[in-house]
């Protein structure tokens, strides 16, 4: 199957997944036990209130019609009104989304630097002290809860050494880079722990292959072979793992935001749950799922450009 056919097929799958995601989010309110109107109102729910809210949320209409209203609203960017703040969910999400995306991208950047540095270092020094130290350190990172890691970084680097701000977000762009460094590092350490394990073993396997021996025999410099021949092939599986981990990165970002008091989607999501502000929760679920879908689409498409040999069955 050629590249064009693959891309077409991958896009069709994406459309299908988007459809499924909307059905699931829609279905969650309707098929999980409990009357959504009563749940939303909680203690404030009188018979009359509940009936009014059912009417307002169109819960009395047939299910397909309700689904259609939900999806057409989504496409137009209408995500309802927050129960708690009485303002359009769209505005609340749109103002916070860039902050969360920025934090996630920053974390990906730092994780990339960590992964290449330590993954290659461990692979090149396989079995020696450097390798062992890197493996143990990042094995610990793998099981460290990110909210606690964030707090430890604050304790040591902010409160102890005064190198970084304790919390907050800053006002200018350089401020943001400065304030977001520790939260991004927190996330990057967790993410790179998975990626380093993968890149290390992938580089080691690739190093044994014939074409690498040929490249060495041609008299190419070690560094050249490592970057041009080994890494280019070894990186493919690491990119796949990155795509699979992206959902965890987003989830982590939401928690870490609350640790560092960053006004992103995370804070909004977790306050909304306590107040049962379902429209907000729903909107954030949609938005984060869209991000994961997009990233995995990019990962899959990048394959055909990184490795033209890959054929798709």
């Amino acid at each position: 199957m050629g590249r064009a056919a693959y891309i077409r097929r991958r896009l069709v799958l994406t459309v299908f997944v988007l459809f499924g995601v909307t059905v699931m989010i829609f279905g969650m309110v309707h098929f999980l036990p409990g009357d959504p109107a009563a749940t939303l109102l909680g203690d404030r729910g009188t018979q009359q209130n509940i009936a009014d809210l059912r009417e307002q949320l169109c819960l009395n209409k047939p299910l397909p019609e309700q689904y259609w209203l939900f999806v057409s609203g989504l496409v137009q960017g209408q995500m309802g009104t927050s129960m708690q703040f009485r303002q359009p969910v769209r505005d609340m999400v749109v103002s916070r989304l860039p902050i969360s995306i920025g934090l996630a991208l920053y974390a990906v950047l730092l994780a990339g630097i960590l992964t290449f540095t330590f993954g290659l270092l461990a692979a090149v020094h396989k079995g020696r002290v450097t390798d062992q130290v890197i493996r143990v350190l990042f094995l610990l990172m793998l099981t460290t809860p990110n909210f606690w890691l964030g707090i430890l970084l604050i304790l040591v680097l902010s409160l102890g050494l005064h190198w970084f701000p304790v919390a907050g977000f800053g006002t200018s762009f350089t401020d943001h880079i400065w304030y977001l460094f520790l939260p991004a590092l927190t996330l990057a350490l967790g993410l790179s722990a998975v990626l380093i394990r993968n890149l290390r073993s992938s580089v080691i396997t690739t190093t044994r292959s014939d074409y690498v021996r040929t490249a060495r025999a041609k008299g190419l410099l070690d560094r050249m072979v490592l970057l041009r021949h080994i890494l280019r092939n070894a990186i493919l599986s690491t990119i796949t793992i990155f795509g699979l981990q992206f959902g965890f990165l987003i989830g982590g970002a939401l928690i870490v935001e609350t640790v560092f008091a960053i006004p992103g989607l995370g804070q909004l999501l977790f306050t909304s749950i306590t107040s049962r502000d379902y429209p907000v929760v729903q909107a954030i679920t949609v938005v984060t799922a869209l991000m994961v879908i997009l990233v995995n689409l990019v990962v899959d498409l990048s394959y055909s450009f990184l490795d033209p040999r890959v054929t798709y069955g």
């Binding site: 309110v29 304790l155 379902y278």
Partner: protein, 294 residues
């Protein structure tokens, strides 16, 4: 060293040792253990013991407040890890919360493991439309960040420990279904399955007696990864105030409660995390050790 140069790819375990002189590692392998697995089992075993014997290990009630004893630093007399803002002994609270966090790990994984495995085997073995449907459902479920989906479900079924278990149950089966489906797909065309079919075994019997024992291994290995994940995310939810409610001792909740006293009493928020880390490492080692055995 000489044979290392000649065959660098030779795995270390294959190096011959004198038969009469069994090393510690080889003795372990004889009884089905390897050092990684053993280390993990020791850590988990110790944690379970601590959970059971908590009242014997500490004289303090984990939720009894003693305000005149508040903010004692670690290594104080009678309080090895210090006390929190209510004067509660942190060591006791960490010990007692082992019970809850182990429970979160086990319960969160049990239902998804059973359900996911049954679903995966059925779809992988039967194939056809059922299987296609499962794959599409998996594609959709995988599009959600795990934590966000769990939180979204908890926003409907309600926060707290029960809500958390329900949410984990509804979301956590995905990896088990993926793993066992893949394995069942490979196994269904192997000779032993054909043989079972030829002698007239029914489909449910083949799935339960022949496919299951052969595909369960990788899923069991994943159970330990799943437990680490459940404990990390469970403590995260608890950190956010969505898990067990205070004054119940739970590591994530303790970390959250200590956060506001970071400046004057770092130990309240810093120390419970080490317990989480140790349990996580123990479970990961078991998982890695089991994976190595295969």
């Amino acid at each position: 060293m000489a044979d290392n140069v000649l065959s660098p790819a030779l795995p270390q375990t294959a190096q011959s040792a004198p038969v009469l002189h069994l090393s510690f590692g080889m003795r372990l392998q004889k009884i089905g253990l390897n050092p990684t697995l053993l280390a993990g089992l020791i850590i988990l075993g110790a944690m379970i013991l601590v959970a059971i014997a908590a009242p014997l290990l500490t004289p303090y009630d984990p939720i009894a407040q003693k305000l005149d004893e508040a903010f004692k630093p670690p290594l104080s007399p009678n309080h090895p890890l210090g006390t929190d803002n209510f004067g509660r002994d942190i060591f006791s609270r960490i010990l007692y919360s082992t019970r809850l966090d182990l429970q979160i790990g086990f319960v969160s994984v049990m239902f998804p493991f059973i359900f996911g495995t049954i679903l995966g085997i059925t779809c992988g073995y039967l194939g056809g439309r059922v299987d296609t449907l499962l794959m599409r459902v998996l594609d959709v479920m995988m599009a959600f960040p795990f934590l966000v989906l769990v939180v979204a479900i908890m926003s409907i079924v309600g926060p707290g420990l029960t809500g958390m278990y329900i949410a984990f149950g509804l979301v956590g089966w995905i990896p088990y279904a993926r793993i066992t489906r893949g394995e069942a797909l490979v196994n269904r065309n192997l000779e032993y399955i054909q043989a079972a079919r030829t002698i007239g075994a029914t489909t449910p019997r083949i799935m339960a007696r022949h496919v299951l024992p052969n595909v369960i291994g990788p899923a069991l290995v994943y159970v330990f990864t799943g437990m680490v994940l459940a404990i990390l995310i469970g403590s995260g939810l608890s950190y956010l105030g969505l898990g067990p409610q205070p004054p119940t001792p739970e590591w994530g909740a303790m970390i959250a409660a200590g956060r506001q006293f970071m400046l004057q009493a770092w130990w309240i928020t810093a120390l419970p995390g080490f317990a989480l880390l140790i349990l996580g490492v123990g479970l990961s080692l078991i998982g890695d050790g089991l994976a190595d055995k295969r």
